[in-house]
Amino acid sequence: MMYWVSVVTEAGIFAILALGLDMVWGWCGDFDLAFYGYLALGSYMTMVLTIGKPVPPTQYILGLSLPYPLAVVLADIAVVAFAAIIGAVTLRNLREIYFAVTTLSAVSALYLFVQVYTPLFDGYNGLFGLVNPGQAALNLTYNGYRTFFMAVVLGLLGLAYLLVQRVSGSPFGRMLRAVRDDEQAARAYGRGIFFAKYRAYLFGAALAGLAGGLLAVFISAFNTSAWAPQELLLIYAAILVGGRGNPRGVIIGVFVVYVAFVELTRFLPFGDAMRQILIGLLIILMLRFRPEGIFAERPGGARAGGARAGGARAGRTGNQVGEVADPAAARAAGTKAAGT
């Protein structure tokens, strides 16, 4: 039982991260590789704000003993500030592979810096000691607290989902997709490209930071072995499976992929290596057979009319739009769907 609590909690945390990442990749079309860094920074900052003064030879910055919820909020602000810098540099003119490589460089630099500069977060050793904050105050057993924490994570995931859905179906969400589809045309209609992407980027980073704060309690410790930049590929795989640009699909994708992976790698040999192989295989297969994911993005986002006959074939993640073979059929399907 507690095993499933653990799995669901972890999947829930990564679902929050995935929602944030989907905003940047699914709605803005930018392939960001720095997002795991935001998660990591969120975890680290939450820990240095809650575990109190460092006991030598351990060393880290700050070392306050703030209440956990406050620490998460402050950590999230720090993450958004960091993302504000990265985003300001990368979102101006970099697109596609150049954007991806630059964000990867940024997160790799952070990764190495944290590893090597021990006064920051104690390098390779990392931080530990954030064990079930508030367990005594809530008068729970260890297992009781873990179950309670799962409920908190799922609750926050629900809240994140509602906010993301709201943005997805809003004029802002629609505008992001237009910027993604055709930037020049969006400019021709008065949209400031950088400003649009920047806001979405910071919102996504805020979700990643929140996920980081929750992960810190889940693991109760955090060091550089917990976050290599390539960990993000599992999240991308989950988004691919579930449905890029579709918030519900993203959450389902994370749960499906995460639970499936956890279960599968229990029985297969070579554990971790096999996991990497399977992730790669999953990505290749999804891109080949169903790039839009199980739940394709609805035209213009959530709450929009669900035109599907023309849409399914048109929804290729490479942003190539296939012409529908029979426009009359598309029209017929379109008029059947509900209007916006």
Partner: protein, 283 residues
């Protein structure tokens, strides 16, 4: 076909300031001079044709006016505002406004290929073109989503009307990427109508368009003018230009070689020369 041209404006008396004024515009790409010493004005409420052989620099001028390129020299002013001109203290660099800013000032341009937003529906394409920037605040979206949806209801009704006007009503909820070429052209016009700019610049709107649709496009352009918008049309189809334009500007090898009514062009030796004796009469 009805002759939609307005009577030639009287030349006596003070003229209102032109909506668009271009002065000595120049632009080179590497070693190729695309535009040089280009000067012309466009009066408000007119339909002006911009014609010339291939390579004359017409599309470059459109890019420069709409902010999608930086002039090497010259000055562009729109509605009294300078949108491109020498940087401060007379330096050689030309400072220019960003294209989205120019669009917000009231210049909407099309591109040679229809550029719809393929993953959005036809209706959403038109809604977006309506440029209700106030609805696109992220903060308001997170906190006042219901209010935004209510405010959008009016835009929605107008958008549907516009779609009906261009016979796209049935396609409102279809992904724009799946439309046929002709439908995409109509969608471009629907978007322009939704945006309601002071100046519309159409870059070869007749490309690959059949005569029936061409007739509708011509009517749509005359309707824009009747509604008070100013239109610049870059085109190769000369009978079309003759039918809908009040005035024509002819470019060749990067400069303006004539500006005036279409009839006047036939007698202009430079124009005839530029078109290598092409027949400028009705096709």
């Amino acid at each position: 076909m009805a002759d939609g041209r307005a009577a030639a404006p009287a030349t006596a008396g003070p003229q209102p300031a032109p909506l668009l004024a271009i002065e000595n515009l120049a632009k080179s790409f590497g070693g190729v001079t695309a535009v040089r010493g280009c000067t012309f004005t466009v009066a408000e409420g007119t339909v002006v044709g911009l014609i010339g052989p291939n390579g004359a620099g017409k599309s470059t001028v459109v890019d420069l006016v709409s902010g999608f390129g930086r002039p090497d020299a010259g000055r562009i002013s729109f509605a009294g505002r300078e949108i491109a001109g020498p940087a401060r203290w007379g330096s050689r660099r030309v400072k220019t406004m960003r294209p989205d800013r120019i669009a917000r000032l009231g210049i909407i341009r099309t591109f040679q290929n229809p550029r719809e937003w393929p993953q959005l529906t036809v209706l959403q394409n038109v809604l977006l073109a309506r440029c209700a920037f106030g609805h696109e605040s992220l903060w308001r979206t997170l906190t006042r989503a219901r209010r935004i949806r209510r405010e959008e209801a009016e835009d929605l009704a107008v958008a549907r009307q516009i779609l009906d006007r261009y016979q796209l009503g049935d396609l409102a909820d279809v992904r724009a990427g799946t439309l046929s070429g002709g439908q995409k052209r109509l969608l471009e016009f629907a978007r322009i109508a939704a945006a309601g700019p002071r100046l519309v610049i159409l870059d070869e709107p007749m490309g690959g368009v059949n005569p029936v649709l061409g007739g509708r496009i011509g009517d749509a352009i005359r309707q824009f003018a009747a509604d008070g918008h100013t239109v610049i049309v870059v085109e190769h189809n000369l009978p079309f230009i003759e039918r809908i334009c009040d005035e024509v500007i002819v470019m060749d090898v990067g400069e303006v070689i004539a500006q005036g009514s279409f009839d006047g062009l036939r007698g202009n030796p430079r124009v005839v020369d530029a078109y290598l004796g092409m027949d400028l009469s009705h096709g």
